[in-house]
């Protein structure tokens, strides 16, 4: 068993370990490479922050990620590129099927995006993330944007961000649910030992080059150092010691620029609750699945977990019908907190074995039970930042509220874009048939586009112990997509490899 300080945190970009919450000011830049050599020179000395903890937290941080075009332009050969996942190579708008699945249709359609929709002209090469303590961003930006920087890059777009603390623009605490990465391999990934939901997640789910929750290594570019001498300094591939691992300690970064119609949200809720503030608040909380301060709508806590950790340590097992937290509530969809097998088996010995077998064979289930299982394979490490000023509901419902832009620069880090981000966005968020529901996509994120059969997707239902559900109909679209892309956030040795690539590319042909 490895100790925490054995992990190669010095090769990891810090975002995989920290949210940089104390660095309240941030600036996300989408860059194009104007001069390849200058860009490599800048990369050589760029102060990219690693994931080593320091005695006192830093005042600033800098993180970098590349789109597939960026890697190509810097001279990464096709032998490496082609070993990345299809999702990364061909992108978030790679075909219409992908857009259908991600809910990027109707108002969300990529044709309307402001960036990222056309792989050649609007997809940036590099994503640069700058973080700084309050008031220190300008100075940090000047340091980063040195002379070589301005020679190397061209700013395609600066994504707005603002410091709204833990809260997203609708006013809800958005910083609670995160997986805890199991840096020290404390937990087995064997399904026989994973009957209960756990928030602890195998490193390989977030960081490439390590075993994931299946105990497997996600496919990624491995390089033969005999053919590519530059690769000698790359980390070893754990699953094939003759090869070097270009992606080890790296991750995929998913970015989606989302706008949120804050007045539209609260005005709709106000109307739906007959302008009664308490009712409005309840309806909003049931849509989100938490109160605005982040308290989950589930009272029960898991035995052995301190009450103070309640915010992220609960499951919906005791609220199967959704009487407390609706099945369709945003946080219940984004992470259903289900284990590999439904319910808990407490019996041991032969009785326990038979019960287990019966469950595996699907017997003794209620019709709506076990529709969504094994959440551990679909977790996201969220690192987004919101933009726009905080607007209280009381303000937002005023009819004369001046127009202002609000939204979220949604960022998540995953090792498998398809099984993690795209799965969650498709099967859990956009799907109006999630977990036995119908007509109900995510109440916050749904695009409300009807199905091919004409069935609507603009409902939100709250199951009620009295029997009939409390239905809210004709939900408008509250959140729209304005851009997005998949990036690769390399480990620091891979970054060095990139910056040392010879001119004219051809890294692997040498």
């Amino acid at each position: 068993m490895k100790k925490s300080n054995d992990f190669e945190f010095d090769d990891l970009q810090g975002l995989l370990r920290f949210g940089y919450g104390k660095l309240t000011d941030s600036c996300f830049m989408l860059l194009n490479i104007a001069n390849v050599e200058a860009a490599k020179q800048w990369l050589k000395t760029a102060p990219i922050s690693n994931a080593v903890t320091m005695d006192s937290p830093p005042d600033t941080a800098l993180q970098i990620a590349f789109s597939v075009h960026g890697l190509r332009i810097l001279g990464i050969g096709e032998s490496i590129i082609s070993d990345f996942s299809d999702e990364f190579i061909y992108g978030m708008t790679r075909n219409e099927n992908c857009s259908r699945r991600l809910g990027d249709i109707g108002r969300n359609t990529p044709e309307r995006w402001e960036w990222g929709n056309d792989s050649v002209t609007t997809m940036p090469h590099i994503l640069l993330l700058l973080y700084a303590k309050k008031g220190k961003l300008e100075a940090w930006r000047k340091t980063v944007e040195d002379e070589r920087f301005s020679q190397a890059f061209q700013l395609l777009r600066q994504l707005p961000t603002s410091d709204s603390g833990r809260f997203e623009p609708f006013g809800f605490d958005d910083s609670i649910s995160q997986p805890t990465i199991d840096w020290t391999y404390r937990q087995s990934t064997d399904p026989h030992e994973r009957d209960r939901y756990s928030n602890l997640l195998a490193v390989g789910e977030m960081v490439l080059g390590y075993p994931n929750e299946y105990g497997q290594y996600t496919a990624r570019p491995l390089v033969d150092p005999k053919k590519d001498h530059l690769a000698t300094d790359l980390p070893d591939a754990e699953d094939d010691l003759t090869l070097k691992d270009f992606a080890r300690n790296g991750t995929y970064l998913v970015l989606r620029e989302l706008s949120q119609d804050v007045p539209g949200f609260w005005q709709f809720l106000d109307k739906a609750s007959d302008s009664k503030p308490k009712k409005r608040e309840q309806l909003a909380a049931s849509m989100v699945g938490r109160e605005r301060n982040g308290t989950p709508l589930i009272a029960e806590h898991i035995p052995g977990i301190l009450r103070k950790d309640h915010g992220n340590h609960f499951t919906y097992d005791l609220d199967a019908k959704g009487n407390h937290c609706p099945i369709s509530a945003h946080v219940r969809r984004a992470n259903p907190r289900t284990s590999d097998l439904p319910g808990n088996i407490t019996d041991v010995g032969i009785i326990g074995f038979i019960r287990r077998l019966a469950k595996i064979l699907g017997f003794g289930q209620k019709p709506e039970e076990d529709l969504v299982a094994s959440s551990r394979f679909h977790r996201l490490l969220r690192r987004g930042r919101s933009y726009g000023n905080v607007l209280a509901p009381e303000e937002a419902i005023k009819p004369d509220i001046p127009a202002a832009k609000h939204g979220l620069q949604f960022i998540c880090l995953v090792a498998n874009i398809s099984r993690q981000f795209e799965f969650v966005q498709n099967a859990w968020i956009a799907n109006s048939k999630f977990n036995g529901l119908h007509e109900e996509p995510d109440p916050l994120l749904g695009n409300r586009e009807p199905l091919m059969s004409g069935e609507g997707t603009d409902h939100f239902n709250r199951p009620d112990p009295s029997g009939p559900m409390r239905k809210t109909c004709h939900l408008p679209q509250f959140v729209a997509v304005h851009g997005g892309g998949y990036f690769f956030m390399p480990g620091l040795r891979a970054l060095k490899y990139i910056s040392a690539l010879p001119a004219n590319g051809g890294n692997s042909s040498s």
């Binding site: 099927n97 299946y214 469950k359 119908h438 069935e455 009295s466 029997g467 559900m469």
Partner: protein, 434 residues
């Protein structure tokens, strides 16, 4: 109860006709891969016993993989397959098809080898080219297309009406709510806007055959059990040997292939899946495969016929078919959700079941004791199943927008209309479904 049955008509495509056939089949579609229900060749919607149908051109794109076993690939000619899942008897349905879509079917099948448009008796030809599956799965045996439509209409009607009355009556007055809903159904039935047809009597011959099958298979296995027990150690030994020596093919499918398949997917809440590959060489694998499918078929028919296949509740129909003299296997299913979620659900919930059957097919990831690992080798599994998947030229579903879970819920709502709940908890449960 009307039991479901299934048909599959397959014939090799005439040399040089492949492209024409593809164009003709595509002309039946509204969007890529999805039939226009009223298309002029086969107006599917007119066949009210038909649940699902598809045209697939079965091509052996992965047949070279068997070379890894030291076996020469067999020749395979592209084969057109027309398959469907229906209520009631297959033969009467084929007759219905031949009668109502004669010209369209003739036009399509004229691209096949031994079919000539002029002098052919279509029905006889179709019957002669029928292939029976080795195992067949029906989500809910006895649930007809008619019933599905009637129950969906009932749900819609009750849902709207409940919305209207709940504020007047109060959500706590559940008995009054129920009474009002029941009278609403009566009124709507009287006005002819709702129909709830009683089930047809179960055909006697089907009942007998079903009973014989139910008893027969376990009985034969029981009789053979001393023999099976005696060969078990040898079986285990040979299995482990093969599991260690079978080559694992970790080949990533091309993006063009995946792109081609995904064009047809995710237009509706359900999708189709057609997969084709070689059975691993050797009698051992073939017999194991056949034995497992015998069991699968028995369980599907007599145990998993009420909305779930082990832990999976998203499959409407599925079938396993041996073709080419037992050298190849074809699998087709109709499932809810996207391809990725279907596969993830499979790996995590019934990986053992996939391993049992498909580990006997070329390209499947290595298993241990036939149920362990296999599908759990996530990427190898995902690659192999996508690589062996073939496009479905035309796909028809009689009830777009409805998932298998929707169908089960609607049936429960209907049940609540016909059978009075005995206590308040049951009434609340029923109301919560609407």
């Amino acid at each position: 109860m009307t039991p479901q049955s299934t048909f599959m008509i397959a014939a090799t495509v005439r040399v040089g006709q492949l492209k024409n056939l593809r164009t003709l089949l595509a002309s039946m579609n509204k969007v890529p891969g999805h039939a226009d229900p009223d298309n002029s060749l086969i107006p599917f919607s007119r066949f009210n016993r038909l649940h699902f149908a598809r045209f697939v051109i079965i091509e052996a794109t992965t047949t070279h993989e068997i070379k890894e076993f030291g076996v020469k690939p067999r020749l395979w000619r592209p084969t057109l397959a027309f398959l469907g899942d229906i209520d009631g008897n297959m033969h009467t349905f084929l007759a219905e098809l031949a009668e109502q879509a004669e010209s369209g079917l003739k036009k399509i099948f004229s691209h096949c080898d031994d079919f000539s448009e002029e002098d052919q008796n279509l029905l006889e030809w179709m019957q002669a080219h029928t292939i029976n599956p080795k195992a067949n799965y029906v989500n809910w045996i006895g649930r007809t297309v008619k019933q599905i439509h009637e129950e969906a209409a009932l749900h819609r009607s009750l849902s709207t009406y409940l919305q209207k009355i709940v504020d007047d009556v109060g959500r706590e007055n559940i008995r009054i709510l129920r009474q009002k809903l029941l009278s609403h159904v009566e009124m709507e039935k009287y006005k002819g806007r709702l129909t709830l047809s009683p089930p047809e009597p179960t055909p006697t011959d089907w009942k007998i055959r079903n009973l014989l099958h139910m008893i027969g298979v376990p009985l034969i296995l029981l009789l053979l059990s001393p023999l099976l027990l005696a060969i078990a150690p040898f079986f285990a030994l040979r299995l482990r040997m093969l599991e260690r020596s079978d080559p694992e093919l970790f080949i990533r499918p091309s993006y063009e292939h995946i792109n081609e398949l995904s064009k047809q997917e995710d237009w509706d809440v359900s999708n189709q899946y057609s997969v084709f590959g070689d059975v691993k060489p050797g009698l051992f694998r073939l017999l194991t495969f056949k034995f497992i499918l015998l069991l699968t078929n028995w369980f599907a028919r007599h145990v998993y016929n009420r909305g779930f296949l082990a832990r999976i509740k998203t499959i409407h129909f599925a079938r396993w078919v041996f073709i080419d003299n037992n050298h190849r296997v074809f699998f087709a299913s109709n499932y809810d959700g996207s391809h990725e979620s279907y596969m993830d659900d499979f790996i995590n919930k019934v990986g053992w079941g996939l391993n049992l059957t498909f580990s006997n097919a070329v390209g499947y990831p290595t298993t241990r004791w036939i149920i362990k690992e296999g599908a759990q080798r996530e990427l190898a599994f995902k690659y192999t199943q996508r690589r062996h998947q073939i496009p479905t030229e035309v796909w028809y579903k009689a009830y777009p927008g409805l998932t298998a879970v929707d169908l089960a819920r609607n049936s429960r709502i209907r049940q609540g209309v016909e059978i009075r709940q005995s206590n308040d908890a049951e009434i609340r449960e029923w109301l919560s479904l609407i």
